[in-house]
Structure formats: structure tokens, C-alpha cells
Amino acid sequence: MTSPDEVLQGLYDETLVGNAPRVLELTEEGLALGMEPQSLLFDALIPSLEEVGARFERGDFFVPEMLIAGRAMAGAMERLRPLLAETGVETVGKFLMGTVKGDVHDIGKNLVNIMLEGAGFEVIDLGVQVAPEKFVAAIEEHQPDIVGFSAFLTTTMPMFKANMNALEKAGMRDQVIVMVGGAPVTQEYADAVGADGYAADASATVKRAKALLHEKRSKVPA
């Protein structure tokens, strides 16, 4: 019989190497043992994916390793998502995400989505090649706390500004926190387009999103 500690260690280790079938098995074993979904998530899956990110930063892991780990965690999340919802734990916030118009790259964005969801955000992903008017319509429909613009190409980064202009024009700019990210993006560029936040990787995005949300909420009078 596997113990809860062994389940957590196994989830951590198998997520790290991207063993999706084993991660799902261990998730089931943990639930069968009566372990809380939050524990599986926060004590094993998220720390493991954070370690994957750290190894990528150090050059010990490459994109394939990141992706298979992300897929393994995503599989577990599919199983845990409805259970987490049932627990009645409120989401940290609602995050609307999309890759800008003219850009089809979404590997980084998808990893960010997994980390955000794991951290308790409700994530609405608009996919790739999202036009400014589509962002505006989705903000209207979903009323997110944060909207994230992702770009991989220097040639598509200017769409950040186009999106900001569309939000201004629609009178929505003060309604949402805007975060930007992607390989060519820098803090300076984020500042230049008037974004509220920028982060260099998935883990940093989660921390920055939480900080921005806390900042905004603390400004709202009770």
C-alpha cells in the first residue's frame, strides 16, 4: 500500500520526468487514500513544475522536457479540476490569455496557463492569433481580473500596443490588469506599451499576477 508521502514524492518525481500515465495513476492513488486535491497540487505537482522551470533556466532541461512535464501535470489537472471546484475554494482570480494577432506560437503561453491554473486562477485561453477586437469582446463576456498578451516574434510584439489601444477605445483599460510576456519581451518593452506587468517565465508570471491582483484589490475601498 502506497503511503501519502510516497504518493507526493512519486507525483513530484514522475512529473519532473514527464511520465504522464504514472502521474495520473498516482493522482488516483492519492485520491483513493483520501488525500486532498489541494495537497496533491500544492505539495507535489506545482513544486515539481517549478523545479522543471528552474532546470530549464539553468540549461539542464530543454523545451521537450518542459513540455512533457507540462503535459503530465495537465493530465492530473484534468482529474483534479472538478474536485477542486467541488471543495468550494474560491479561485484566486480570472485570467484571460491569448497569443496576439499574427502569431501562432503558444508553447510558453500554455505552460503559463498550467502554472496559473495550478496556482488557483481560472484561466480562459483564447488561443493564438487573437485580434484586438476579440480580446475586447472576451473581456466584455468574461470580466477577467487580468488579461495576458503573449508574443514570440519581434514582428508581432507591436500588437501589444494595438491591443492596449483597443482596450482604451472600449473604455476597458482601467477595468483589467494587463500583463505581457513572450521570448522577445522585456520589462522596458512592457513599460513602453503601458502594460501593468511583465514576467520572464511561467513561475514569475504566477507571482507577478498574484501581486498585481493583491495590489489592485487593496486599493478598492471596502
Partner: protein, 205 residues
């Protein structure tokens, strides 16, 4: 050789052929082509090699475009007083910037291939992206691509067959655009002509 050229391994072969054909007194020093997949390492690698070459050459130039360094290579060039090839990627050097931009405007989901990538597809794409070990990742990488465009510098039947195979592996229709080496040669000529500044003998005939 008075001039040393730090070259991306992915274009070093045609660069060396052009240098030889034109009889330029230039020594081509390639860096590993797989840096193509780790562009954040390029600037430091170029700096190290350029510094070493500067000890025994009058002039050092850089046969890289920006190549995904997002300005880091330009910073190294400014630091060491080097010049590099123009453009964002080697694709610009084969197809031309405006033509390439039109490909991507027409179909943002365009996956670009060069002769080098076609020839080394199994190593530089399949193995490097982990598709040999994790074929399920193909969907993650390529689901939003709609076509492969081969910027064919030297479209031999052998390369055409390899390009067809690469496109089939990606699950994309192949468009062949014959580019030759004309633009690359002109860009090299501009780069190396300028890099001889300070001497009366330009490296170009």
C-alpha cells in the same frame, strides 16, 4: 587571412562557398549550428570566439542575423566594434526581408525550412525537439502551422526529397521558394567590404 568571420553553423557552408568562389581573404569560423535552437547562448559564444580571433586577425565580422537573440548580439557587436549581417533571421538573408514578411503576413502559420534545415532535419528538428522520443509533442509544436515553406538555395532532387520528407513529418503541405544565394552574397559583400575599414586593402576584389 586578415579577416575572420564568425559564422552561424547553419549558414557557414554557403558562406564558405561564396568566400571561396569570390576569392576573398576571409577565414570562416563556424559556431555550432544547434545554437539555432538555443539562441540565448549565441551572443556569449560569438563574443568568446570573436575575442579569440581578434588576437590573430586584423578584422573580425559576424555572419549572424539577430537570430532570436533579441538585441543581445547587437550589444556584443557594439561592445567589440563588430558588424553583423542584416535581418532578424537567416531566412531574411535568403528570401529578403519584405518577401519573408509577406509569407508570414499571408499565413502566420508558416514553418520555414532552409537547405541546412532540410539536410539536417532529423538532427536539428526531430531530435532537438524531442520528437524521436516523444512523438506526441508534434501536436504541441506544430498544431497551429498550416504550411512548410522551403527557402531553397540549391534545390537538387535529393534535397527536394528530403524537404518532402520533412514536411510529411511535420504533417504540413510544402511550398518551395527558390532563393539561390544572391541575397546572402550581397549581404556578405556589404559586411566584409565595410569590415576592412582602417586598411587600404579591402578584402573584396
Amino acid at each position: 587571412m586578415p579577416v575572420a568571420l564568425v559564422a552561424c553553423g547553419a549558414i557557414a557552408q554557403p558562406v564558405a562557398e561564396i568566400v571561396e568562389r569570390r576569392g576573398w581573404p576571409v577565414a570562416v569560423h563556424p559556431l555550432p549550428p544547434l545554437l539555432h535552437n538555443q539562441p540565448h547562448l549565441i551572443a556569449d559564444e560569438v563574443r568568446d570566439l570573436a575575442r579569440a580571433l581578434a588576437l590573430c586577425h586584423e578584422t573580425v565580422a559576424v555572419a549572424y542575423a539577430d537570430c532570436g537573440t533579441y538585441g543581445a548580439l547587437d550589444a556584443v557587436c557594439a561592445e567589440l566594434g563588430l558588424r553583423r549581417l542584416p535581418g532578424l533571421h537567416c531566412y531574411d538573408l535568403f528570401a529578403g526581408e519584405s518577401r519573408l514578411a509577406s509569407f508570414l503576413d499571408d499565413e502566420p502559420g508558416t514553418y520555414l525550412l532552409t537547405d541546412f534545415l532540410v539536410r539536417s532535419f532529423e538532427r536539428t528538428v526531430v531530435r532537438e525537439l524531442g520528437l524521436d522520443r516523444h512523438p506526441e509533442l508534434r501536436e504541441d509544436y506544430f498544431r497551429h502551422y498550416t504550411r512548410a515553406v522551403w527557402l531553397a538555395q540549391d534545390p537538387t532532387p535529393e534535397l527536394r526529397a528530403l524537404a518532402d520528407g520533412a514536411a510529411a513529418t511535420l504533417g504540413l503541405p510544402l511550398t518551395v521558394v527558390e532563393t539561390g544565394h544572391r541575397r546572402l552574397e550581397a549581404a556578405l559583400e556589404a559586411l566584409l567590404g565595410g569590415s576592412a575599414a582602417g586598411t587600404d586593402s579591402a578584402p573584396l576584389r
